[in-house]
């Protein structure tokens, strides 16, 4: 059978075997937890606690401020140590609530209260999602209740559960699909209730046979939900590509999936929706992978949001003897953020830490030559851009050509071009800068 896929893309080494087979444990943090108020796209949440307050697990720390914003929920019990500016994973500073962890993890009242099917309305679903502080857990961090609040819910034809997980090293969605297959499908069905004409498609790359099997087993009796295998290729899980592969509909820059009748949710998000609606559990924990060639026991764990990266690396056995962690990435090696410090907390939308003993970028810099116009970048671009020409235009400062003729703003920053470039040109970096420059000039 020929699997569905898109034109372009790359095949980086997966390294998924490192972290997918070990039994999954819930890691309970020992140190302080830090909750940045900007764990989502949109306006940062407004803190509702102050220094010295006693807080419980599941309690609201900061509430959504405005329409596109999300609640921040405490994931441990203890005392608020401070509400102040701290560094976050991206390297910038944000207002954070710091909670001194008492190690008890006492739940706030009402958390874990079971809700039966048929006892809640569509509005209750949205309210529960909003209260739980759920955002896009695949990485984007877009508040989920906003995404699911549609003016025209009849126009949505497909809800795509994204379980493709195409980034190397990361296995949290894979493990989640194997263990919580039923909950994910229930979560998907909750979303489908909001969109009367929609079908649910669970898209999984064919390199996760166990997950496919587990999900198919649950979908067998379902009418509205089915599993769609897609070819394992990076960036299969990118929203634009996934929609194109699964439905044949294409998005362009500035369009939302809803414009072509689709909504894409990560499987982790659907799981969180299930927990919030049926068990009244707000978003406190998530599946998280700590992997990389410098880690002693790479693994996928269930972790508390707000745990420091240093502690999580320690939980995975720490750094191998004789190894230095040259580079620590929040996320995978293709799109992850290189961190300057480990003393930062993980947010809701972070799914992995990848610790590398060698830095291929450092090595690539010594191998850089002139562009030989080989066209490999154009060949792999999943959006069908021509990165070589974009780089030329960007270097000449021809922003108009970059934007108008070469569709430069459509770049999804997947990094495939930079990955394959034999001349080791820093294409992605150039595109990010140029896109930022163009967007800045548009805002003026």
């Amino acid at each position: 059978m020929k699997l569905k896929t898109f034109r372009g893309g790359v095949h980086p080494e997966g390294h998924k075997e490192l972290s997918k087979s070990l039994p999954v444990e819930a890691y309970l943090p020992k140190g302080d937890l830090i909750f940045p108020t900007n764990q989502h796209i949109g306006k940062p949440a407004r803190p509702v606690v102050k220094k010295g307050d006693k807080v419980l697990a599941g309690q609201l720390l900061a509430e959504a401020d405005g329409f596109v914003s999300a609640n921040i929920i405490c994931s441990c019990s203890g005392t608020v140590k401070a509400v102040e500016e701290r560094h976050t994973i991206s390297g910038s500073r944000a207002t954070c609530v710091i909670v001194e962890n008492d190690g008890q993890f006492t739940l706030a009242s009402g958390v874990g209260k079971e809700r039966r099917e048929g006892t809640f309305s569509n509005k209750d679903i949205l309210d529960a999602i909003k209260a739980a502080g759920i955002v896009g857990l695949g990485g984007a961090g877009f508040p989920t209740h906003v995404k699911l609040t549609s003016k025209n819910p009849e126009a949505i034809d497909y809800i795509i559960a994204n379980g493709s997980e195409c980034e190397p090293y990361i296995t949290c969605d894979d493990v989640l699909m194997q263990r919580e297959n039923r909950a994910i499908v229930e979560g998907l069905k909750l979303v489908l209730r909001l969109f009367p004409n929609a079908q649910g498609i669970i898209a999984i790359e064919n390199n996760k046979p166990e997950a496919i099997q587990a999900m198919e087993a649950v979908c067998a009796g379902e009418k509205q939900v089915y599993v769609q295998q897609v070819l394992a290729k990076y960036p299969e899980g990118g929203e634009r590509n996934l929609i194109s592969v699964v439905t044949g509909r294409d998005l362009k820059f500035g369009q939302l999936p809803a414009d072509v009748g689709c909504i894409v949710c990560n499987v982790s998000t659907l799981y969180a929706i299930y927990c919030a609606v049926y068990h009244s559990e707000p978003l406190m924990e998530r599946y998280f992978t700590v992997s990389g060639d410098a880690i002693v026991h790479p693994r996928t764990m269930s972790v508390c949001i707000g745990t420091s990266c240093e502690e999580l690396i320690h939980a995975a056995g720490g750094i191998k003897d004789g190894c230095t962690a040259k580079k620590v990435l929040c996320g995978g090696p293709m799109m992850g953020i290189a961190m300057s410090s480990l003393n930062v907390p993980i947010s809701k939308n972070n799914n992995a830490l990848t610790v590398l003993a060698e830095d291929p970028v450092e090595q690539a810099q010594t191998q850089m030559t002139a562009c030989i116009r080989c066209g490999r970048c154009a060949h792999v671009c999943p959006i069908h851009l021509v990165p070589q020409m974009m780089a030329e235009a960007a270097q000449h400062g021809d922003l108009e050509r970059y934007e108008q003729k070469l569709y430069g703003l459509d770049c999804i920053a997947c990094g495939s071009c930079t990955y394959v470039c034999p001349a080791k040109r820093p294409l992605m970096q150039l595109f990010k800068q140029t896109k930022a420059a163009i967007m800045a000039s548009k805002r003026k």
Partner: protein, 513 residues
């Protein structure tokens, strides 16, 4: 936990291992079978040529970098590839200054002066080869093995000789060092498998060339004829190794298809209508000039920009464009031929009359002679005498003075044994059979070589000689009047001329003398 500073950089944080050096090394690897065969076939001399060319390109690049205080770029391997490609497209018998000059020209003038790797707009190896072809024509096209010169398969094919396809395909015909089609194809497949080149350029180029030859080559779909053409004259080398040079070929698949078709059509056009048999180099460097335009013209639409919001079945626009271009090129060519056919015929008549006058200057009128006409009729358009190769008598006339007395005879003979096609000439004879002079009405030989048969230096050797038959002296320095010194490097053209004149003499002796 970690005191060392962490590295930060923009994503992605991993890179594919492939470097520019690897890409170049793939090309070298794919060329090695051809190079080894060349050395096996042509001996140490071939090795010497290859070594000198590569050395020359490498040294030129090194010195340029050194003098212009640029970082050393030898390790990217592109200079070595240029050297190897150039060496493999040289004859093993070229004088040793040729590979050295070629290497310098390729690297210095074509590559470095335009900004080095990735900035040259023509394939350096081919540009250097064209430079050498123009500057040192005879040396570049002398493919003699052990001093015995013989025609390249294309020349032989044009002369109507039988050419063994298996010899050509295995590489046992005369040609450049890297001219074994079998090994070039193997090398090309290695390169394709390694991902060094994409299939678009070689495939579109070869298909367009084959289609062109089938349409305009005059032999239709004759597989033997088409295969000989594909396997010789640098078509395979061009399609797999020269045209695919990433620097001078388009970026996108559609652009590459168009570019391949341009090359294929130019290959065919130069084959069928051009004079030089080995004009493949020119075809590619001309197509190189189109590359910036092709790249600009075909900026593809990204995902989501097709007509309408939802993607319909993709309209194969590129394929239609390519077909239209091929058709237009074909129609233009054939219409040019049809339009100019009559004009060419008139010109030929006028040229014939002028040449008759030139070789029989005292005559005021030319008339036919029954004996000669009957003899021509009897030949029925066939070969006159096998000893003189494929020669044909076109016409024979008697030149008369104003008083009606015979002043001489003119016999028009065509030899099909020319290097690049037919040679037609008029031989003027005095009534006693002494050659007055000869004059060409059709001479399309290689510029600078066979074409020099038309020079007085060669032509005048026939004047005023009375003999039964002339002899061709390939070495030069003739002592007897009836020996003709060959134009150096063009023994085939010279031989065809001598045979044509001998045919006229024999015909004269048979019918008049």
């Amino acid at each position: 936990m970690t005191d060392t500073l962490l590295n930060i950089s923009s994503s992605p944080h991993i890179r594919k291992r492939l470097t520019v050096g690897n890409v170049m090394f793939q090309v070298i690897l794919a060329l090695i079978p051809s190079a080894v065969f060349g050395i096996y076939r042509y001996g140490l001399r071939a090795f010497l040529i290859i070594a000198l060319t590569v050395l020359s390109t490498e040294l030129t690049e090194f010195l340029f970098d050194y003098i212009s205080k640029k970082p050393n770029t030898l390790k990217d391997g592109s200079a070595a590839v240029t050297g190897l490609l150039l060496a493999l497209s040289l004859s093993h018998s070229v004088p040793l200054y040729i590979p050295i000059l070629g290497g310098i020209f390729a690297i210095l003038f074509v590559k470095c002066f335009f900004g080095g790797l990735g900035k040259n707009f023509m394939n350096p190896a081919l540009a250097a080869r064209c430079f050498l072809l123009i500057s040192f024509g005879s040396a570049m096209t002398n493919f003699a093995v052990d001093g015995v010169s013989s025609a390249t398969p294309l020349a032989a094919l044009q002369a109507g000789e039988t050419v063994s396809l298996s010899d050509v395909f295995l590489g046992f015909s005369n040609g450049v060092i890297g001219s074994s089609p079998l090994l070039l194809v193997i090398g090309g497949l290695i390169l394709l498998a390694a991902g060094g080149v994409t299939i678009e350029i070689p495939a579109s180029c070869l298909i367009a060339f084959t289609a062109f030859m089938a349409l305009f080559g005059g032999k239709g779909l004759d597989p033997h004829y088409l295969m000989i053409h594909i396997c010789s004259g640098g078509v395979l080398m061009g399609a797999f190794f020269m045209a695919t040079d990433p620097v001078t070929s388009p970026m996108t698949s559609a652009g590459q298809l168009l570019y391949g078709v341009i090359i294929g059509v130019l290959f065919g056009l130069f084959r069928v209508k051009g004079t030089a048999t080995d004009s493949g180099s020119y075809a590619i460097i001309i197509a190189n000039l189109f590359v910036p335009l092709i790249d600009k013209m075909r900026v593809r639409k990204p995902l989501g920009y097709k007509n309408g919001e939802y993607r319909e079945h993709e309209f194969p626009k590129a394929a239609f464009n390519l077909m239209a271009i091929t058709l237009i090129a074909g129609l233009t060519l054939s219409s040019v031929y049809l339009l100019t056919k009559d004009a060419i015929q008139q010109q030929k008549e006028a040229a014939k009359a002028a040449s008759y006058q030139a070789v029989c200057p005292v005559a005021v009128d030319f008339s036919s002679n029954t004996a000669m006409d009957n003899a021509i009729q009897a030949l029925n358009g066939g070969v006159y005498n096998e000893n003189y190769g494929k020669t044909y008598i076109n016409e024979a006339v008697v030149g008369t003075a104003s008083d009606g007395s015979v002043t001489g005879y003119v016999i028009s003979v065509t030899s099909a044994d020319g290097f690049d096609g037919n040679i037609t000439l008029s031989v003027g004879l005095a009534p006693d059979g002494t050659v007055n002079s000869i004059s060409f009405t059709e001479l399309n030989e290689t510029a600078g070589m066979g074409m020099r048969c038309g020079d007085d230096e060669f032509k005048n050797q026939f004047n005023g000689v009375k003999t039964n038959a002339f002899l061709l002296n390939k070495a030069g320095g003739s002592t007897s009047d009836s020996e003709i010194d060959s134009v150096s490097g063009a023994s085939i053209s010279s031989g065809a001329v001598v045979n044509a004149v001998n045919t006229a003499l024999a015909f004269f002796a048979e019918t008049v003398g």
